[in-house]
Amino acid sequence: MNKEKVIFAFFIVLALTLNFGFFLGEIDNPEHHNVFEFFAAIVVSLICTALKFGDRTHLGALMMATSLVADLQLVIAALIWGYAEQVSGVGMTPSHMSSVVSLSGGALLANIISVVLLMVETIMVRR
């Protein structure tokens, strides 16, 4: 068992599961989407990106790219959330909420691709 591989896979899968948990529920209902879960999803996603730094293989480059996509989507979602709550003055509206959730849905796709790539890599290495 390779400790590094365990940590790596752990974070990638965790990013997917957290994001999935946040994504579940009615798209425009703020009650169904927990802000702490969202925060955890962003943090884990950022850690995933940092973990993928410096891998020179082709697969590594792909993983890095999907991870960056997830980060980008989640950060934009966070910005929208912050804007809705603090700047707009009217609080969270269903339309803002649905933007946030759909962006996190995009990040979810990127996370799924990451996990698929991880599986491909695991299958390729027959040791």
Binding site: V35, F36, F39, V43, L46, I47, A50, L51, F53, G54, R56, A78, W81, G82, E85, Q86
Partner: protein, 563 residues
């Protein structure tokens, strides 16, 4: 490029993760710990404000406690997070600084900028492997002719001196690396379109060999010149088509043997190849007779072979007791003592060659020998370049310094491939012929360096000439020698050889007609080359030289001339 970035990113992995963890835990703490607003109600910070607060606190900016004054619980958490974030930052910045200071990282950056410089070269250049005495001379001389070079040397100091010297009119990219490695050669432009030649000049035969092989494999048609110090490497290099192999000992042995049996031919050779030529008067010393060779090493044995071919009488002096005793006239001893020298009968010899591998011994030999025989021709081998000053003042007739010899030989080849052909052909002529040629060269070049260059009659190199010939006008060789500023004057140069249809015509006449494809070797002052290029490239100049009047192409003058 990628190497550097990946190294940086890989090292930053842990500091970045630490930073993300510290920040997220801090933010989470502020969101979870209940605070109190200005009316005394329980208030919970949201993520937006928590992130804002941790951002300015972590970077030690500190705008204060917002949006309301903190409770004691919040302050306790703040205390913890201040230290945690500062440590995380220090760790991250420290890692970056440590990485930048590492010599490996610096080398990577330098290699990168070298590769970029080489890739950016848009003019023809030579790849010079080995920047010793030879490499330095060659790079400088090429630069004088406006030709660029890229340098590889294994010694950091040499590359530094190349970059710092500032003597070159343009920058020559230099890399400190092992030239025998293919990826180094690749970075240095071995596959570059503009790389016109590869010069393997390191003092390790094996490295020269691998450079030459790599170049010949990748681009068989490109010039490869290599130095070597052993006969086996020479044979090996020639076997796969290396264009020129220079063995300094052998080249100098040929040079000296020419001096011994044909002094004037030798002087012509010397003037054409050596930038600092000896005066005409130096020839009058008697060189025919018995020579003494001190030191029968690589140099000595090469000399022995050459002299033997010319049937020059020889006496060998060597202290090595294991030496083959089959040599005629062998005297045991170092040659530095008068006793050994008189045993070698220095009194009735014409020349002495101090060819041991010790500079002090060599100087001592010629000084002792000169005391015993004033008229002796002295040849001394200089092994260490730093001893230049001493050798210059030693008053020896010939100083043999391998670095300089290789450089001269290589430059002769690079100046014009016709020059070595001429030198070879000229040896078929007698000394009287050479004397006449020498007088002619002397009157043209006077005290200056005799430069030589070749001119090709074709579209690329001399468009004006080709156009004129194609329009049916007879153009003779002499036209190139007229001064384009005033056709009654001639340039300080004369043709040495005309190469036409595989025939080498030595000292062609000025009335010889030129035709496309001809190649002419000239010698003279180097400034004449630039003038000659006018004639070759500018149709109007050529027209003026041929007819004496300026052809003005405009309509008015054409109408006027018709009347």
């Amino acid at each position: 490029m990628n190497n550097v970035l990946y190294a940086l990113l890989r090292r930053l992995r842990l500091p970045l993760i630490t930073m993300i963890m510290v920040y997220s835990v801090s933010i989470l703490g502020f969101v979870l710990i209940p605070g109190m607003d200005d009316q005394g109600n329980v208030y919970r910070m949201d993520f937006f404000h928590a992130f804002y607060f941790v951002s300015f606190m972590g970077s030690t900016i500190g705008f204060g406690e917002i949006p309301y004054a903190f409770t004691d619980a919040q302050r306790m958490w703040t205390l913890f997070t201040i230290y945690a974030t500062v440590i995380a930052w220090l760790y991250g910045i420290g890692t970056i600084l440590a990485l930048i200071q590492e010599p490996v990282f610096g080398r990577m950056l330098r290699r990168r900028s070298f590769v970029r410089k080489v890739q950016g070269i848009t003019e023809p250049f030579y790849l010079v492997c080995g920047y010793g005495v030879t490499g330095e001379i060659i790079v400088n001389k090429l630069a004088q002719r406006g030709i660029r070079s890229v340098v590889i040397d294994i010694d950091e100091g040499k590359i530094d001196s190349l970059e710092i010297s500032g003597r070159l009119p343009f920058e020559a990219p230099g890399l400190c690396a092992d030239a025998s490695l293919p990826d180094v050669l690749d970075d240095a432009g071995l596959l570059h379109d503009k790389c016109v030649g590869v010069l393997a000049l390191t003092n390790v035969d094996q490295v020269n060999l691998s450079v030459a092989i790599a170049s010949k494999l990748l681009r068989p048609e490109r010039i490869v010149i290599s130095r070597t110090e052993s006969d086996t490497t020479t044979a090996n290099l020639l076997s796969f088509g290396t264009d020129l192999v220079v063995d300094p000992f052998r080249v100098y042995a040929e040079y000296l043997s020419l001096a011994a049996h044909a002094p004037y031919t030798h002087l012509v050779y010397d003037w054409l190849v050596n930038p600092y030529h000896r005066p005409l008067s130096s020839v009058y010393k008697k060189t025919k007779g018995r020579w003494i060779i001190c030191g029968y090493g690589r140099f000595g044995s090469a000399l022995y072979r050459e002299f033997n071919e010319e049937h020059v009488e020889l006496t060998v002096v060597d202290s090595n007791p294991e030496m083959d005793a089959g040599l005629p006239f062998l005297v045991r001893g170092k040659g530095t003592e008068a006793l050994t020298l008189s045993e070698a009968r220095v009194e009735d010899a014409v020349g002495i060659i101090a060819g041991t591998n010790n500079d002090a011994d060599n100087l001592s030999i010629i000084m002792t020998a000169r005391e015993m025989n004033k008229n002796l021709v002295t040849v001394v081998r200089q092994n260490v370049h730093a001893n230049k000053l001493v050798f210059k003042n030693s008053k020896a007739d010939f100083i043999m310094e391998p670095g300089q010899i290789i450089a001269n030989r290589v430059l002769a080849h690079l100046k014009s491939p016709l020059l070595p052909v001429f030198i070879e052909q000229m040896q078929a002529y007698d000394d009287v012929w050479a004397h006449t040629l020498l007088n002619r060269m002397n009157s043209v070049a006077q005290e200056e360096e005799v430069d030589s260059w070749s001119v090709r009659v074709d579209e690329d190199n001399s468009p004006a000439l080709v156009e004129m010939i194609n329009s049916g006008v007879d153009v003779n060789l002499g036209i190139l020698l007229k001064d384009p500023r005033d056709r009654t004057q001639s340039l300080s140069a004369f043709p040495l050889m005309l190469h036409t249809d595989d025939i080498y015509d030595i000292l062609p006449g000025e009335l010889d007609l030129l035709k496309p494809g001809d190649e002419i070797l000239f010698c003279g002052k180097s400034k004449s080359l630039r003038r000659m290029e006018w004639t070759m490239n500018n149709f109007n100049t050529l027209h003026y030289l041929l007819t004496g009047n300026e052809p003005t192409g405009n309509l008015l003058s054409r109408i006027l001339n018709r009347q």
